[in-house]
Amino acid sequence: MTKHRFSQDALSDWMRGTGPDSDVVISSRVRVARNLRHQPFPMLATSQQAEAVLNRLTEVSRSGNLDAYGPFDTILLSELSELDKRVLVEKHLISPNLANESRAGAVVLSDNEAVSIMINEEDHLRIQCLYPGFQIGEAWALASGIDDIYEEAADYAFDEKRGYLTTCPTNVGTGIRASVMMHLPALVLTQQINRILSAVTQVGLAVRGLYGEGSEALGNLFQISNQVTLGQSEDEIIENLHGVARQIIEHERAARKRLLEESRIRIVDRVRRSYGILSHAAIMDSKEAAQRLSDIRLGADLGLLEGITPQVLNELLVMTQPGFLQQTFNEKMSPEQRDFRRAELIRNRLSGKNDHGGVEQ
């Protein structure tokens, strides 16, 4: 079955690290929430009703109407093992909510994993488009195109005044959540990050860390997204996020430049230490891995480390998550075993791509 490819191969398109501004922006994502008229939302649906919605919506992907956007696979959540689900969550292809709480849930995945369409998540339909680098406008254009195809086949719950109706009042209106994942190590190191992030929250945007709801961002990775979905048009929402993200990119670059000018030897030391530890350590917990991978990502972006590509770092980000580790080594692991395997995987991955040691002055 093709679903195994999605859960066994770490590489999605967004991880190639080739997009614009990929020295700071790792990925851009747009998620659109839609519901069908005359059907209770998934939370209150009976199993029969949930099945009906599932059938209605999978018809669209199975009929080939989406083919203009590349080949798609429809995967029922009931066909997946717990581990498969966890891996798809770690790759950002499905949400934890779909993995753990959905009934009659399914995901429709495009071949390059840029599009994932979740069925019977919190809303009947959630279209998610994920692009590498800073391409938030492109992600919205794609999501909107796919939305149009679903709308031809499905009668959406839409209200003239409130817009697209969603389960949660925080999504009503446009139903759109746009976000960019940013790596901001220099703003953290120079202690500007809190000032910038609190400014961001004052213009209607939200900030959170990668992988989880916690306030502390692991590995200096921050996700910035719109909070308001009602009263602004999709284009306004995208432009607002785009403008703010653009500013943050410039601040981060300026902070990196200044760090290099003022304390080059400290940065070189920090990058090399982390590289040394990742290349040799026998035990590596996820928190340390995230921090050290952030250091060598910064090193690679600043030209202080040779032979480390963004792709390797993005893959490691996903592959060092608990679910993926267990998938890779094909065994159930205790947390201690995971730390041991994580260290092994990072060592192999770094040495495989970087035979010469790779730190230059």
Binding site: P40, D148, K161, P169, E216, G231, P335
Partner: protein, 173 residues
């Protein structure tokens, strides 16, 4: 590092809780995390957006008066059966008709969350034509009324026919 709760197993969950600016760091193992449950990201009982929302909804009734006197007939969505008080607890709607059933009470909530109460973005093509159709009918009715007042019944009859035609189109959509 060992778990700060049991001190036996290694800590694998690290998180920081900030409540009203007070920062507390936690380093605990998975089994203690499961026991503690509350407030830990990724555990089923974690504090969610929905519980925050229900706080906003409570705020909704001035002085909390509406909560002390339970009205004899609770506001309920006819289609899915969800009551307004259930909605204000879980912070989620049961179906699209809830938006109509609770319409009177939604404006303050939506204003609080979005600083706006009405949509100004994309319109689905299908309902787009429906909405246009409805707007045209409303306009024609007003025009027809004007003709009737001016006793121009021939013109009014033309508009009546046009309205009927549009209504047929609307019901076919």
């Amino acid at each position: 590092m060992f778990c700060q709760e049991c001190g036996k197993r290694p800590a694998t969950l690290h998180f920081t809780k900030i409540v009203n600016g007070d920062k507390t760091e936690f380093h605990i193992c998975e089994s203690c995390a499961r026991e503690k449950g509350e407030g830990i990201p990724g555990t089923p009982n974690s504090f969610s957006i929905h519980s925050l929302l229900s706080g906003l909804l409570d705020f909704n009734s001035p002085g909390g008066a509406a909560h002390t006197h339970a009205s004899p007939q609770p506001v309920r969505c006819e289609e899915c059966g969800l009551t307004y008080s259930q909605f204000s607890k879980i912070g989620r709607f049961g179906c699209s008709s809830c938006y109509t059933a609770f319409a009177d009470r939604l404006d303050p909530l939506l204003k609080r969350v979005h600083s706006s109460t009405s949509h100004s973005g994309k319109i689905p093509k299908r309902s787009g034509s429906e909405i246009q159709c409805k707007r045209e009918i409303e306009q024609l009715r007003r025009d027809m009324q004007t003709y009737i007042e001016k006793e121009e019944f021939e013109n009014a009859a033309k508009l009546r026919d046009r309205i009927r035609e549009l209504e047929r189109k609307l019901s076919a959509l």
